[in-house]
Each structure stands twice: as C-alpha cells, then as structure tokens.
C-alpha cells in the first residue's frame, strides 16, 4: 500500500497537498464539501486589526500567470477567531492559520491569540507579502528582524507548530531560511509571489490599482523549483526542517518536481481558481477536484515505481 501520510512539526496530514493561504476560504466548502485529497488548509492571512486592502483593480491575468495585489484585506484577528474558525472546524483536515502584521508586536499578539485554540493546528507567519507598505516583506528580507520576530513568536506560541513563509524577492533565499531555522521554526514555506507589473497600453498606466503586484501561477514554477532546491541543499536537509513547496503547481508532474527537489508538502494556489477538472469516462462525465487529481497522480506514480512512502521521494533530485 502506498502511503502519502506526511508530518510537519506536530501536524499530521493525510496527503502532502496543502491549499495555500489567500485562495482557500470557507466558501469553498460549498463547492467541494468533502475536500478529498487535501492534507491541510492555510487560511487567508490575518492581521491584528482589520485591514481594508489595496485599491481596485486587484487582479490581472497575465500570460501563464496572475498578478494580484489584494493587500491583506481581512476582518481582523477577533472576527477571524469568532466567525471563521467555527466554520472551518467542521472540516476534517488540519487548519494552518496564516498571520501577518506590520510590527513584531502585531505578529506576537495574533499568534498568541491563535496558539491556544485547538482548531488551529499550526501557525504560518507571512513575512513575505509584496503588496503592503509596512511589514510584510521587510521581515522576510532582513535577517536580523526576522530572527527577532521568530524568536518572539516562538516564545509566545510554545509548542505549536510554527511555519514561516519566505519571499523569493531576495538575492539568496538560503540566508533568511537559515535564520528562520536557527530561530526555531518547524517548517519553511516557499515561495510567496514575485513582484511584478502590467501596463495598460490605452491609458499608459499600470493595470493594478496598487501599481505593483505579486506574480503567481504557472510562470513562477521553475523559480519555485530552484528556491526549494537551494534551501533544501543549503540548510533544510542538514537541520531536518521540512519545506512546504508552492509556486505554479497545477498538475501532478509539477507537484512531483517540487517534492523531488526537497519539498515535504506541496501547496496549490492559483490553480484553485479552476478547482475542477471534468473527466470523460464510460459512465459519463465526472468531475474531479485539483487535489484529487494531484493525489491520484502521486499514488499512481509511486505504485508504478513501487515506492512505499512519499518520504522516500523527498529530495531525490537534490542529491548529486
């Protein structure tokens, strides 16, 4: 029997597939109620105070990708805990709460509120949002403040599984990754969106309301593969810290690529905007969610090569 079960920190997951932050909401429960194939769910980043977000338009489709600039719109931590968590707890998959903020205190306040909740299985620190003025990417790019942030949050959350999501908008991803590992995170999430722009040729203005945005989608997949490879070989393998890899995954092959360069889990983001695939079979038309598709591919691949456990695949392409 092929085993897809994965573990990050204290977090056990049925499959290594994760619905990443900002795209999955409780609204999805109506569309795919059973969440087949999903290992865990990361909720949209929450800040201490409610945030309005950036001006519209906030999303632009580019060839093979997507530019977004939402700007962390969220109802604030208290509403998040009171309104959203009760709905999400009905899920049978673990929930990872994503936390963002503009100061160390904000991160600490949010995560210390979330840490005691049983419904929240892990906390992800979003230190990589490219669309906000203050905070966000500042922490991801500055190793010193990243260290300060993570040690303080770690102190506040105790044993809770702590994940940090890093930004690719940096010369060498291994530096913040090493700092994060030294400061005591349980896992590293790679990669957030890349900064990008799109221009309207009629009006001679940027298409996005916030001018610049973050690029995601299939276009960034090769970058994600490199970033995970770099982190895995330089620090994560040594310290035995798992990587949650994401970036342009929409098919089983792309997911497997990330696993082979060192990702323990694979996040699916932009591809979730088209969450279903319709299959033609003898019995008629069947639909299959993206997660089922990826899970199916991984299972078949492993069975074909008689690999028993998914952990035997991790980082195989990274070895020289």
């Amino acid at each position: 029997m092929v085993d897809l079960e994965t573990k990050i920190g204290n977090l056990r997951m049925r499959t290594p597939l994760i619905a990443v932050s900002g795209i999955f909401g409780r609204e999805h429960l109506n569309l795919f109620p059973e969440l087949k194939g999903v290992g865990a769910v990361v909720t949209k980043s929450v800040t201490f105070n409610p945030r309005l977000g950036n001006p519209e338009p906030r999303i632009i489709e580019t060839p093979a990708g997507l530019l977004n600039s939402i700007g962390l719109q969220n109802p604030g931590i208290y509403k998040y805990i009171n309104d959203q968590i009760p709905t999400l707890r009905t899920l049978e998959v673990p929930i990872i709460a994503s936390v963002a903020g503009s100061s160390v205190e904000e991160y600490v306040k949010c995560s210390s509120l979330l840490a005691p909740l049983d419904e929240v299985d892990a906390i992800e620190l979003n230190v990589s949002c490219p669309n906000v003025d203050k905070g966000g990417m500042e922490f991801g790019c500055d190793p010193i403040s990243l260290h300060r942030l993570i040690t303080k949050v770690r102190h506040a959350v105790g044993n809770k599984t702590l994940i940090v999501k890093l930004t690719p908008n940096i010369t060498d991803i291994a530096i913040p990754a090493q700092v994060a590992i030294d400061s005591g995170v349980d896992a590293i999430s790679l990669i957030n969106t890349l900064r990008g722009m799109a221009i309207d040729l009629t009006t001679w203005k940027p298409k996005l309301g916030n001018r610049i945005g973050g690029l995601s989608g299939r276009a960034i997949h090769p970058i994600a593969v490199y970033m995970i490879y770099r982190c895995y070989t330089s620090c994560c393998k040594k310290n035995n810290v798992p990587i949650i890899g994401m970036g342009g995954v929409s098919s089983g092959e792309e997911a497997l690529e990330l696993i082979l360069v060192g990702a323990t889990c694979v996040g699916v983001g932009t591809a979730m905007f088209n969450p279903f695939e319709v299959k033609k079979s003898n019995e008629g038309k069947e639909k299959e969610s993206i997660f089922q598709k990826l899970e199916q591919y991984l299972l078949e691949y492993m069975e074909k090569r008689s690999i028993k456990n998914i952990s035997n695949l991790i980082g195989k392409a990274a070895a020289r």
């Binding site: 900002g22 795209i23 999955f24 909401g25 409780r26 609204e27 999805h28 109506n30 569309l31 949209k44 309005l52 977000g53 519209e56 338009p57 906030r58 999303i59 632009i60 489709e61 093979a64 990708g65 997507l66 977004n68 939402i70 719109q73 309207d200 009629t202 009006t203 001679w204 203005k205 989608g217 299939r218 929409s250 098919s251 089983g252 092959e253 932009t270 979730m272 905007f273 088209n274 279903f276 695939e277 319709v278 038309k285 639909k287």
Partner: protein, 1056 residues
Amino acid sequence: MYSMHKYWSKKSPDEIAAYIERYTNEGDIILDPFCGSGIVACEAVRLNRRAFVIDLNPIATFITRVTLTPVNLSRLQWAFQDLKSTCEEPVSGLFKTTCNRCGKNAVIEFVVRSGDIPIQIAYSCTCSDIRLFKAPNTKDKDAGQIFKRTKIPYWFPDSTPIPLIQKERFQYIHELFTRRNLIALSTILNEIEKIDNLKVRDVFKLVFTGALAQSSRLKPLSGRDRKRPTLSEGWVAVRYYAPKMWQEVNPWFAFERSFERVYKGKKESNDKLKNVAIGASYEDLSKEKANVLIFTGSSDTIIKEKLPDQCVDYVLTDPPFGKHIQYLSLSTFWGAWLKFDFNYNKELVVNPHRSIYIEDYERLLGDILKETRRVIKPHKYLHIYYHDIHGPYLHKMLSLVAESKFLPERIIHQPPPNSFGAAIRNLKKEQDQNGKYKRGHYGSYIVRCRAEDEPITLTKNTSTEKHLSQKIAEIAKETLAIRKGIMPVGTLLHSIYQKLNSKEIICFAPYSAEKYVQEAIKNFAFIRGDTLQLTRPSKSLLNLNRIKIEKVRKTLLDAQSLYINEKEKEHQIYQRVLRRLEGNGITFDYLVKMKEGITEPEVQKHRKQRISHLLFVLGQNLKFISRMLNGKDTDVLWKYRKKVTIAFRVTDRNVLVKAYQYTPRGAKQSPSEVGIITDVDLENAIYKWCINHPNLGSNILKYLNPMGYFPSDSNHKAPKHLLLKVLENEKLCPGHYLLTLQYPGYKEPQPGQFFHLVCDTNEKDIVNDTGTANNYQLTLRRPFSVHRIYYKNFDRRILATRKIIPYEIKNVIKRPIYKIDILYKVVGTGTKSLSEIRPRTYLDAIGPIGKGFPIEEVETAIIVAGGIGVAPLVALAERLRYLGSDIILYFGALKKEILIPILGTRPDSAIRGLLRTRPDSTIEDGFMNGSEDFLQSIQKEFKEIGAKKITVCTDDESIGKKGLVSEILEKDINLDKLPSKNVTIYACGPAKMLEAVSNIAKDHSIPCYVLLEERMACGIGACFSCTCRVHGKSGEIERKRVCVDGPVFNSEEIAW
C-alpha cells in the same frame, strides 16, 4: 504582603489606596481606630501619608507592626536555616513511618483522622518526587498511644480556656492539638524564642501563628479529591469548629509553608514600604520623626489620651459588625501561644454568651465616633465601612454617625475587587441575563461622612419624607418590573441606598430600613421573609414611565401571568396569547372581518393543507403545543398547558378560529368564537414574519417550500459547480455575442446573479512539455450575468400585448427553467476564447452567484443601461413585467471607439463628458461602444416585453438622442416627464455612469440599485479580489466583495 497572615475581612489594598489618594494630600495624618491587619497603615505609608492606627486586638497590631517593620531578608533566611537544623530532625522524628514502596523510613506529611482514628497517611519518601499515600498499619496506630505518655518538653499554653462563642467540644486551647503536635510546636516555639534579633524573632512568631491553624484539629480535609487530600490552608471559618474528618499535619511542614508565605510578603513589603518609622507618641508624628503610630487598646481611651483636638485629616475605618466575627475570642487561638493578654471588656461586639448586647455595642461605637470627631479637623471626611448587609445596624450606625456631628453624605456601594477570586466568581455565577445579581448583592457599603460643627438633628421632615417615600416607591417599581415581580429585599435596599442624598439619608436614618420600605411600597407589593413580591400587577405599573415601558413590558407580562389571582389566570393567559399573535405581525383586523377569498384554481388545490401547515408551524413558534388534526371540526389545534386551547378550522373561503377556556378544575368550557381569518392575510402576515425573523423564518420557509408556495430565497443558497451544454453561440453584431446554455432546472438563477465560466471547453486539450494534458489555457474564470431566463411553455411576447398582467403570468416564475442566455461583448482574451466555442460542447460553470436584484412590486421601474451593461437588465425587466410594473428604459452607447485624448485631437461633446468624469476609462469603453445593430436588437428585446418608453442616446445622434444617458435622465426627471410615485431605478454600466445615476437618484430621493462589475478571481468570496468601497454601518469605509456581497448594491451604500 497582605497575605502573610490570615486575618478576617481584609479590604482590597487598591481600594484603600484609591480612597487615601482621593481624600488626602501627602503628609496628612490618617486615623484608623480599627486597624485590623493594618492595610490602611501600610497603604498610607506607601503613599507618603502619616498613619495613626489602633486596635484592641494585640494580634492585629502585632501583624501590622511586623508587616511594616523592615527586616533584613538574608537574616531571615539564615535564621530559618538555623531553625531548620535544630527543629526539623526532632519534629520529623515524631512523624515517622515506613514507605510502602521501598520499605525505608519516611516522614509523614499529614494523617487523615476521623475523630482520633487514623484513616490514611500521606508521607514523602526519598524514593518518590510526589506525595505518597498509604493506609496506616498497627505500628502507625500505636504511635498515638506512645505520645500520650511522652512529656511535652517545653512551654505550651496549657490552661488557656477557649472563650465562648457558641457551644464547642473543647474547653482549652491545647485540646485543639494532638499531643504529638503539641510536642512539635513547643519545640519550634522554644527555638524561636532563642533568636536574638527582636525583629527577626517577631517575624518568626508571625510565621508560627500562621502554622498553628493548619496543625490543629481545626484543619478540615482539603483538595478536590477526597481520596487524595492536599496540604492547603485550614481554618477560614469564624468559629472553633473541629470537623470530624480532619488532617493532623506535621507542624514542620505547616511552618515551612507559612515561612514561604511570610518571606514572600516581607520581600514585597521591603520593596514597597520605604522609610517606615514607627513612633511612640503623637509628638513623633507631628514633628515628622515617625510616620506610623500603632497602639493596642480600646480606641476611645487611646484617642483621648494620645491625640490633641483637630489633628487628623482623614479617617478611614472598618469597624466590626455585630456578632458575625468574634475577633478577640478567635484571636485567642494565636494569642495564647504568644502569651498576649486580651481585654475582652472593651470589645466592640455583640455576644449574648458574654452578655454583651446591641445597646453596649452602640454605646461603645458612639464613644469612639465622638472621640474621632474631636480629633478630626473640621469639614474633613470620615469613610466608614459597613458590610453587614443583612443585619439591622445600618440605620443605627447612621444615627450614631449623625449624633457625633458627622453628616452622612452618601452611601457608596463597593463591589468586591477583582483580586478576590472566589467572591468574583460567585458573583458572576449569580448574574442573570440582565447583569443583575440573583440573590442580594455582594461587596460592602462605604458611608461617606463630613465632620460638621453642629450635631445633625434627625428630624421627620415631612416634605422630604414624602419625597423620599415617592422615590423609594419608584425605585421599587422599577426594580420589581425588571426582576419579574419578585426579589430579595436586600436588592431593593441596595438600589435605594445608592440613590439617596444626604438630606434623605438623615430622614431615612432613624428607622429600620425595611419598615420604611414597607410603608412606601404597601400599595403594590409586600414583604414576606427576605423577599419582596408584587401583590398583583396593576395597570399603573405598566404606565410607569414612557421611556422604560419597553424594558418593563416584557417582563411584566410574565410577571402578570405568575402573580394574578387564580380566577383571573385563564383570562390573562388568553389575553396574552392574543397579544402574542399581535406581536408576531397578525393584527386583530382580520380576526373580525371576513373578506372575499380568491378563487384561483391553482391556489385552491392545496390550499387547505397549506394553511394548516402554516398555522401548525406558527403555533410551534409561538411556543404552543401545536397539532394537525383531521377532524371534522378542527384542522389545527394550539394548546397552552391546560389553560387555553385554540382551534382552527380551514374552510373553503376562510379560517374559523375557536378558543376554549378551562374552568379552574380543568373542565373544558364551551367555545367562544374568536373570528375568521382570510387566507391571504394570514399568509402575508406569516411570510412577513418569517422575513423579519431570519433564523426561525428561513427554517419555516424551508419547511414550507416543498409545497411550492413561497418564492425561494436565492440569496442564502450556495453556488454550485455545473456543466452547462452550449446550445448556441450566436454573433449578434460585430463584437457582440449571445450564448445560449441549456440549464438544469434545479436551482433557478435570479436577475442580477451571474455565472463564473471557464471561457474554454475541455475538448481542446493543451499539451504541455511534460506530455500530459492541462485542461485550460486561461488561469481565471470570467463572470457573466444572466441575460435572459426561459421558462417552460411560455413565450414572453405575450407581455407586450397585455396592459394588466393576468394571474397566470405572475406564476410563470414558479415554472421550471430550461435554458438561459448570456450576452457578452468581446473585450479581451477570455471573451475572445468564449466567442470561439461551438454548440453542443460543455462549459464549466460555477453559479448562480451573488445577490440578485431585490424584486419588489414597483409601479414604475426606470432601467438605466450603459452599453453592454444592459445584459442583466433584460432579465430584470422581464421579471418586473411579470409582477406588473411599467418599464422605462434609458439606454446609452457610444458609437465611436474611445481613444485617450492625445494632444491636438478634440473629441466631441459626449465623449468629452465621459472623459472629463473618468479620463482613464478602460473597462468602460468595453461597456459603452456598440454598433447600430446592437442598439436595435436591444430595443427589440425591450419592445417584446412591453416596455412603456424607450430612450436611446448615442454620441452622434445617429440613433435616438444625443448626449450621455445620465444627463438625459436628469433632464427628463426635472421636466416631470417621469412618474414620481413608487419609482425605482435599476442601473448597470460603466462606473462613472452609475455614479452619476445614483447621484440623480439621491437628489430626487428615488431608491436606486446598481450592478457593479469588477475583475474577479475565485468568484465565491474567498480571495477578496473583486472588492468595492462601501459605507460601513458605523460610517467608515469598508470593502465588500462584489461577487458574494453584490453584485447588486443599493446605490446609497457605495462610496463612489
């Protein structure tokens, strides 16, 4: 630092500090004639005031002195180590046992005894970190016998009698200890006496007294688990109660714990209390040589001897009250060991066993207050605590205060502070929904008094008295009403006390409060025991106060039903039922008159069943026992206990209502006919009620919907993932396409809702590098509004021929839907790809999404469309026509492509207007420009559904009028070309047009709904891509999601 020792009725230091800071300046002298454990003294010193404190109880002054006196902490530790080395071994020698695990010798922590028989032994052994338990063996049992013969080596209080509080089992203090413990305690005390340093010795004496209660017979079993008791504090009661089951604690363990507590306290007091100087006489205090004076003795004599006239700035004190706590008698327990003398004669207490009665108490308190008045400066304040809430002393104390030339100004309620964990927890438990305490109240009162020159005469001032009596009656009514007609008297007094001013207090003082209250409320309530009850609810109570009536009403209704006479009961409940009906939107009107029923065949068919259902559900929601019967006389029965029965009979034309009442014995009386309900009214009433009660109402609607009566509430339904077959994808004119999709009938879309489509079929697979198929080329779906809804067996062209819409057409929307249209214009890659889709393929869709247009019956609907924005409005117009509204269309389009104004070019006026308002229009140009064919096809569609008036405006006057659609609309409204009554505007188009239209609507106060467009990603509300700015409830700007919170918004809501 105040938890070093257990002493009774400690006040919160924060509270005391707040009073001191409020009423004194630095350097002022504060007097406390009943200092207790000395919190006032400590806080006064901490806040740089000077304190003069007295207590009759030597233990109290001892605790105060030790708390105040700074001690070298390392010395304390050394002394403790010395004590440990000398005492621990001999003491633990007395408490030896063998370990059940390892068989070695172990030290007993405590023995659980029932009477004198040991039941369980708790001991600590080197083999385990935790406390171990075992059953005592014969050796352990014999141990007690051995000690009976052993001589007690050192001094102990061998002949101090226990002062009588009430009948006790023991006569002497030493009988409260086992012989073994006496040996151990006397050993420890002996070692303490050997300490040279006086201060350190005093501290250890305090530690010793702290350990006494725990190592006596007064220590009850503690801890939650009875089988595994713990070693927590004992004896917090106010009498010498020796429980039958008790713990004989090893005194050394008790001593050690007590030391930890005291050490912690001293550490804190050393930090907080700097510059403590305890003086010997008033001169020390006045010359600022000292800041604290502590005296033991009766307060009246001490004040008389030690203090001159008018020297004290502020008095804050908490005198003992009545017989509740017999301070001196209880303190003897400690005092006997420390060889203190107690002066029982002068104690301010009531104790019938010692023949001290309330008169003696009053006399002594009066003397002390008079002395206090002598030494206090004129017009300074005295705060006196009063916390014997249930006792009769308050008015006595007030009169004493008044006699001693103090004017009682206010009675302040002081709730217990947060630090008093248990008290606060109890308090919260006892709160009811209104935040009021169920039983009485907690905390204490503080009476604020000002020193006056003249004695206050307590006169019966008639005018004040009358006013007071009115005031009390008013307060009583109000609180009674809130409390449902019954409450403890204490609660009423509590609310009265706080609302009195000084004049009223004086008037109030000479009498017992209850008597006064009794007189004031005799008209409407009576006191029985400790509770106050409404005699019977009177109507005047209801008319109490216009503002408060709403709050009072609800509760009084319940109160009424509980407190009316037996005879009136049924009638009252009957009335109440009718009132409930009224309250739920069913008015009396239709209970009286009979109207002509509507004889539509469709309605008639299931009518009886349906109405029965409605009544059944309504009855359940009104908390009746509701039943559906198939009897000849009754269809639905509502019951309320055995008081009232209401029977409904649904006939062909109406509903007959009969109500039965019961005799007091329970027999059914002959029915009295209440009236007749015509069905339409009832349905409307119930439907309205359901809409207004979202939680219950939606359930009822859900329950009733299988009967197909109410229109489904689409807003609350979640969108579905669908595969829609393309029937046609027709090119209307250049750039404009009409997509027709087959629609499965199970979830009907509403006008204004949209579908999120993948603009691509899964038929043409795109193969990527790795060789497998990825279905779709486009990353995102595209939202498309529903343009037209086709109902089975219905041709809409009939709408144009009829002026008044017949009943059948109104019911068309209940028919199944078999296909829908989507009108779109090619603007980008998505729509381009969509336009290439061939018929008989399948489209991947999510929908219908969003809130549709609110469809109300309006007389005239003005539909304002800009360019392709007309698409959703066709479905809307059609739906409105079914309901019989008149449609007036304003349709604007640009025939020329909008270009960004490059220097030198001069666009003509219409375009210029558009560019002026929004120069960077990008989506708009996609919206606006349309060809002649397009305009004509739209005109045709509106003619088909029978639009009353169609106005088309273009930029070049080629078709219709020239100008912007909003400008022309405004002109027409100003010229009164449009009807003014019952008009609603619906608009869709470019953002600037919508803004202009909503401004017009606002100016003329016409309701206006707009459909917004924004770029979308997920389409189901998760990603927050498609937001728009709206005014929040509290006025600030919020961002709402167009996909699920919209796309239709009330135009007033939007922040343009």
